[in-house]
């Protein structure tokens, strides 16, 4: 068990002036036992960051500490980490038992202890009856659990998850999400979890790092990230449908962008006059896409409020305490 500290971590490919920098200095102090999710669109550098923590990618600049140790130049096996890969990366020719035991075997852990540790992990993950089978005889969800078992038996200081749920179907994903949460509660091991799925990020994270184009945009609890997004990128990335960002809102300040979440606009008799363009029914709620001047915005209304006619004009009142202001040039929260 250990804290994890990233100080000004930089990743560059190539050398000299032609080098292509993909991570521009990430700073994060992750507490012992914390579950941190890195989220961002594809290509934002989140996986690269995780792989640098794992030791699979070289760190071009900055300092990475696990516990009190600087681990920049250590091999993955010496960093006391365990990783769960997107495609599970189980050794296809080994039984599940051997898959889980392989790392311990290399570390020359005595046989009885390997047996005990694997059995314990298998019990936690309910894999007991599958240990003698090979990975190809298992379903996706079971393979996923073997991959987690392989991580658990090493008793690492830090767990790293690289989009482990993206190959599962929706139902299994929700279920595995709960299992990961339960596992984390039981083992209390510091975890770093990469995903592009904001629902996964919001539900799993104790704190989350939102990344965009190699920059860390925000590092905070899911509540903070949702209710006080640090930049327009975070505002539009987290939340579905995303926050409305208006440059020319009525009562707006020049040089600023006004952000308002769709659920914080109430349809009333007075307020902003909007032209209704499309209406989507999502079951319990309805999304009204409407035009305000030359900008589009989305209002989330309750299903029992009735659908406004397309082309008609409605009025919406933004909740004053839920307005967000961003600098129009930098995108930073004001």
């Amino acid at each position: 068990m250990a804290s994890l500290s990233l100080r000004n971590i930089v990743k560059r490919y190539g050398i000299g002036p032609k080098a292509n920098q993909v991570i521009h200095g990430v700073n994060a102090e992750i507490q012992d036992g914390e579950f941190v999710v890195i989220v961002g669109p594809s290509g934002c550098g989140k996986s690269t960051l995780l792989r640098m923590v794992a030791g699979l990618e070289e760190i071009s600049g900055g300092e990475l500490r696990i516990g009190d140790r600087v681990v920049n130049n250590l091999e993955p096996a010496q960093r006391d980490i365990a990783m769960v890969f997107q495609n599970y990366a189980l050794y296809p020719h080994m039984t599940n038992f051997d898959n889980m035991a392989y790392g311990l075997k290399i570390a020359k852990v005595p046989k009885e202890e390997i047996r005990a540790r694997v059995d314990k992990a298998a019990k936690i993950l309910e894999l007991g009856h599958l240990l003698e089978r090979k990975p190809r005889e298992l379903s996706g969800g079971q393979r996923q659990r073997v991959a987690m078992g392989r991580a658990i038996v090493r008793q690492p200081k830090v767990f790293l998850f690289d989009e482990p749920l993206s190959n599962l179907d929706a139902k299994l994903r929700a279920q595995t999400r709960l299992e990961i949460q339960k596992l984390h509660r039981e083992l209390g091991i510091t975890s770093l979890f990469v995903t592009h799925d904001q629902v996964e990020a919001m539900t799993l994270a104790e704190r989350m790092i939102v990344m965009n184009a190699g920059n860390m945009e925000q590092f905070g609890t899911p509540e903070e990230v949702y209710s006080r997004p640090a930049t327009t990128f975070v505002a539009s990335f987290i939340g579905s449908p995303p926050m409305n960002l208006l440059k020319n809102a009525p009562g707006g300040r020049p040089g600023s962008i006004l952000g308002i979440r769709p659920e914080h606009l109430d349809v009333r008799d007075s307020g902003w006059a909007l032209q209704v363009e499309t209406v989507e029914l999502l079951g319990a709620e309805r999304l009204v896409h409407a035009r305000l001047g030359d900008e589009m915005l989305i209002i989330r209304t309750h299903e029992d409020q009735g659908a406004p006619a397309i082309g008609s004009t409605i009025h919406a009142q933004p909740r004053e305490d839920r307005l967000h202001w961003f600098n129009a040039e930098t995108g930073q929260r004001q």
Binding site: P76, I81, I106
Partner: protein, 283 residues
Amino acid sequence: MVERSPYLTLLSHLIMVLGVLIVGFPLYLAFVASTHTAQDIVQVPMPLLPGSNFWQTYHDTLFGGGTGPGSSAPVARMMWVSLVTALVITFGKIAISLLSAFAIVYFRFPFKGICFWLIFITLMLPVEVRIGPTYQVVSDLGMLNTYAGLTIPLIASATATFLFRQFFLTVPDELVEAARVDGAGPMRFFKDILVPLSRTSIAALFVIQFIYGWNQYLWPLLVTTSEEMYPVVIGIKRMIAGGDAGNEWNIVMATALLAMLPPALVVIFMQRWFVKGLVDTEK
């Protein structure tokens, strides 16, 4: 659409039986010839039913009791030489090409691209092209009439290296990374993961290379002059004296059948693996 009519079934079976006969008849004839005495075979017409000289012929063949004008070295010894040669070539090829493919795929070293292309280019050169210089080298090293001389020049294999390279390229990177996280060094990864994963390819190569090694003709013809070191394929050739000499055809035929046996057995027993290795992509 293939229609299932009894006539078509009959016809297709007839064609297949005909094919079997065409392939099988010469083999049958060789077998029949090997069961007669040398005098009986040269009668006209040649007997088409097995004779009574089976044990005598095969005894003479295996232990060198022939009295013909050509070589009458014991074939048992030749079989042994062929077997050792074929196995050394096969295992040597597999071991060396596994290692060189491993180096080419998983390591970054200077001139790696050039190394790969040099290996690849040798694919395009048939053995005969470099047989002169190779002979020179082997003879200068005093390896004529030795197992080393028979096998070493044939071990390097661009084909096998290329095959393993292609296979290694399909092994997912995540597997390599998982092994690194598990603490496996390069050779450990090679031994514990890469080789077991390639076992079907290895089996397929074993079949191909064993037959290749067993059937070597030109090279052993050059480097063996002593009867002690004849592989069986050369033995057959040496048994047949030129001109009108009265060759012991029964012994020649017996030798030919014996020479055919090991490759046939290898194919029969390895068939399942062989097909799997060429078709299967279990990863």
